[in-house]
């Protein structure tokens, strides 16, 4: 027994010595996850406690599921849940295919300045801060001086106060999100496309395949695993619509369609200092997201052989 243990310890030391460089490379990432993702999970227990500053995380009293129940019973529960899901689903519906199409299109461009410029231009908006994006939206959509309404007026239309119309809210929110993110999201598909062997394309060209056929039968099947994995991951954030952009864009009149779980939690949890409540809602969201990922993953495994694990 002892010998066996010693043997494996020797083996382990040998492995460490051999893979020194690799271990050092992976260490920062490992620590990053440990410190910033695993360690904070400990704080989740305040979702089941009445967290008080004075007593700290351990010292606060246990209250079980009280905060979860408070969230479910809140007069705003159904509204924020509905809005969260609608915004997420629409975002995926419209936002998911666009980077793929964009990647396929750019991939067919010849290497050169034009392609590089197109790519750079497409992902620059990703680096603009949300506050600036929202400032731009407010200015562009302004009924008096906004560029959109100037165009409408030039064609003889009546100016629309976009940000005060509940029916426009989701469109504005999602469309601006897509504009900001599609270039960035396309990078992963472009990377996948560069991995496709050029021989396949050459062979199909010789066989007389058209451009469209090449895309349909070579490009898309080759990046299918990437598409599936990205899709599963996106489902994993279905319940987490970020509040930053929403609270910058919504106002009392559009709150009916704009208030989501995170913005609600931000107001009643963080601003009011009810950290236990905020954690409970966060934990509930994560749980739903996890379940969705599991479901999507197993479906995908059955249907297409592609899966996260």
């Amino acid at each position: 027994m002892k010998q066996k243990w010693e043997k494996s310890w020797v083996q382990f030391k040998k492995n460490v010595r051999r893979d020194k460089a690799l271990i050092i490379i992976v260490l920062p990432v490992f620590l990053h996850y440990l410190i910033f993702f695993y360690y904070p999970m400990y704080g989740n227990i305040i979702a089941f406690k009445n967290f008080k500053y004075t007593t700290g995380i351990w010292g606060s009293e246990w209250v079980g599921f009280e905060h979860f129940l408070r969230f479910f019973r809140s007069p705003y529960f159904t509204r924020v849940l509905r809005n969260t899901i609608l915004i997420s689903v629409y975002s995926i519906l419209w936002g998911f295919p666009i980077p793929i199409v964009f990647a396929l299109l750019t991939n067919d461009l010849r290497q050169g300045l034009y392609k590089r410029v197109v790519q750079a231009v497409s992902y620059i908006p990703y680096f603009i801060s949300t506050v600036v994006i929202c400032g731009m939206l407010v200015n562009f959509l302004s009924p008096s001086t906004g560029i959109i309404n100037s165009i409408i007026k030039a064609f003889g239309g009546k100016p629309v106060n976009f940000l005060m119309e509940p029916k426009w809210f989701r469109t504005i929110f999602i469309a601006s999100g897509i504009w900001q993110g599609f270039g960035w999201s396309a990078i992963i598909y472009l990377a996948a496309l560069t991995g496709v062997s050029p021989e396949l394309y050459e062979a199909s060209k010789i066989d007389g395949a058209s451009r469209l056929q090449r895309v349909l039968h070579i490009s898309i099947p080759s990046i299918m695993p990437t598409i599936v994995v990205t899709f599963i991951l996106q489902l994993g954030s279905l319940m987490s619509v970020g509040y930053e952009k929403l609270i910058l864009l919504y106002n009392p009149v559009t709150l009916d369609v704009a208030d989501v779980i995170s913005s609600y939690t931000y107001r009643t949890g963080l601003v009011e200092g009810n950290y236990s409540f905020a954690s409970a809602v966060g934990l509930f969201n994560s749980l739903i997201n996890l379940i969705l990922v599991f479901i999507a993953n197993s479906i995908s495994k059955k249907v297409s052989d592609n899966s996260l694990w």
């Binding site: 008080k52 500053y53 700290g56 007069p75 400032g135 005060m164 609270i247 009392p252 107001r267 009011e272």
Partner: protein, 566 residues
């Protein structure tokens, strides 16, 4: 909540402007009360023996303490650590000139433990909760309460120290009687606040373009009806004189629903600063947002919007800067603003080529029920607390007492004599050329802030600073401010600031007040724009407010109010 954020920003603006202050912020995050109320509350005079745990710790000033006096400069230097929001222009940690001077005069060395003002509450709350420990002296962050920290012995009661070493602090209590109950819990005084003599000088007010009025031959509006006439004229006629009668915005309200409630004063409602929580004449707390007057007010406001007198962008333009932009683009006829901003907006208008632009502050209009205005900022909600681990609490109190003396008040408000101000000999003070015409291009407020004025520890915001700051106004403007100020002062009442809630009370309110605030915010917006009809939906609205627990919150507010009046 956005509204709270705004009020914090506004108060900061208030501090930075009219009052005098630099954006120290933290000291004035909030409310008011006191001076105008005129109630000479005899707050609890607890004269307990000094706490056992403290008596052994006094070392440096022990000799002086026996005689009940601490004389500055101290014989031996004393170091204390102070946690406070940092200055926005220069960091206290850089040993600013004013604090060097104070150290020289007192021999108290302060180690500044500073956090950017905007993050202060959040950061300090987390730090205190993580370590259970606070620096010697700390500005109480929003969200922590005196009763809690005092109850578990993290901070110490100050009344005995104030009794012995706090002559000037006691004088301050006489001038601002309410501040004492605001800083007390469980019968002890736990904190000392910054107070402002200056809050009543020129509160937030309506402002109108005098040149537009003159062009249309109109008088300055005195009543709500006058206002309607004036704003309708702005809407229909060519007030800016460019030949197009259709490009004037009659009235703009700052970018948030909250600003529109400034009109509610004319209905005798306290929605603007007190959030609708206000006692009636019998001392019973009311939620004015569901009162009959509020209904009438919302009907009026809805009409105001429908008539096109209120800029349709009033909900979407985020913050007050948009107001300044709009006003400076010569688009807006009237708005509400801190009077200290008037010269800035006027100057921008002039440099934008509107040579005759003239903005004038107005007396609050007389409405159907009242002519009044609430005033915010005559005292900070949160004060400075002293840790039980502080080795020299007596020195801390003596130091604050010094800062509230005449000499200290001059230092804290105007800086160092000869460097930033000069004594005119007639009780008034002038800022030096270095401040008013700074070689680095800083504004006067910025120069004083960079010196360390109005930062760090509690002090009295002095009218002398407000007076010295008026150097930038021409004689006409100064005179105008004085007349409007004199007429406004009798109409001003202080926004209600309640003493901190106890932990049990906080548990009752938790969650409820947030949901209620969201609902009120949403419905006020909808009533104004007309997506909810006031007449038809009023009963639903009132019963929904009840469902959201308004009665529970009222009970807590009542208890807090009773403590205030004790």
């Amino acid at each position: 909540m956005k509204r709270r954020l705004l009020s914090v920003l506004l108060t900061a603006a208030l501090a930075a402007g009219t009052l005098s202050g630099c954006g120290g912020g933290g000291g004035t995050t909030g409310g008011a009360s006191g001076a105008a109320a005129g109630s000479t509350t005899q707050a609890q005079q607890e004269t307990q023996a000094p706490e056992q745990e403290d008596s052994g710790q006094q070392t440096a000033a022990a000799g002086a303490e026996a005689s009940g006096e601490i004389t500055f400069p101290l014989a031996e230097p004393v170091e204390i650590t102070v946690a406070t929001p940092d200055g926005s222009v220069a960091s206290l940690a850089d040993n600013l000139p004013l604090w060097q001077e104070i150290e020289k005069r007192t021999n108290v060395k302060i180690n500044w433990d500073v956090t950017a003002a905007a993050q202060y509450d959040e950061v300090m709350k987390l730090r205190v909760s993580a370590s259970g420990d606070i620096p010697d002296v700390m500005l109480l962050p929003n969200g922590l309460n005196l009763g809690g920290l005092g109850g578990d012995g993290t901070i110490i009661p100050l009344e005995d120290y104030i009794d012995r070493y706090g002559d000037n602090i006691k004088k301050m209590y006489e001038a601002f009687p309410r501040v004492k109950s605001l800083t007390s819990a469980d019968g002890h005084i736990y904190s000392i606040n910054t107070v402002s003599e200056n809050a009543y000088f020129m509160p937030y007010c309506f402002v109108v373009r005098k040149d537009w009025l003159d062009r249309l031959g109109l008088q300055e509006p005195e009543t709500i009806d006058d206002w309607m006439t004036v704003l309708r004229a702005f809407r229909d006629e060519d007030a800016d004189g460019d030949g197009n009668p259709g490009n004037e915005i009659p009235f703009f309200a700052g970018g948030h629903v909250w600003y529109t409630t400034f009109w509610a004063h004319a209905w005798g409602l306290h929605l603007f600063y007190s959030d609708g929580w206000y006692p009636d004449e019998n001392g019973k707390m009311q939620y004015e947002f569901i009162s009959d007057r509020a209904k009438e007010f919302f009907v009026w406001l809805n009409n105001f919007y429908e008539e096109g007198l209120l800029d349709p962008e009033f909900l979407t333009l985020g913050d007050e800067n948009k107001l300044y932009e709009k006003a400076a683009r010569n688009e807006v006829g009237a708005f509400s603003v801190y009077p200290s901003q008037i010269p800035m907006i006027e100057e921008t208008l002039h440099s934008n080529g509107v040579a005759d632009a003239k903005l004038v502050p107005l007396v609050p209009p007389k409405g159907p029920y009242a002519q009044m205005v609430e005033v915010l900022g005559d005292m900070g909600v949160n004060g400075y607390v002293v840790s039980s681990k502080c080795e020299h609490p007596e020195v801390v109190i003596a130091l604050i007492n010094y800062l509230m003396s005449e000499e200290g008040t001059l230092l804290m408000n105007l800086g160092v004599e000869g460097e930033t101000y000069t004594d005119n000999g007639d009780g008034s003070y002038s800022l030096t050329e270095y401040v008013t015409n700074n070689p680095d291009g800083l504004s006067a407020n910025e120069v004083l802030s960079a010196y360390g004025c109005q930062l760090g520890l509690p002090y009295i915001m002095s009218e002398k600073r407000g007076a010295a700051m008026q150097y930038e106004y021409d004689d006409e403007m100064r005179e105008r401010f004085v007349t409007v100020s004199e007429r406004t002062r009798p109409l001003a009442s202080s926004g209600l600031v309640l003493p901190p809630a106890t932990e049990e009370e906080n548990e009752v309110i938790a969650g409820k007040s947030g949901d209620l605030a969201t609902y009120i915010w949403e419905m006020t917006g909808k009533f104004i724009v007309g997506t909810a009809d006031v007449e038809a939906e009023w009963d639903d609205y009132v019963s929904r407010v009840k469902e959201l627990g308004v009665d529970d919150i009222l009970a807590v507010k009542q208890a807090q109010y009773d403590r205030l009046e004790q």
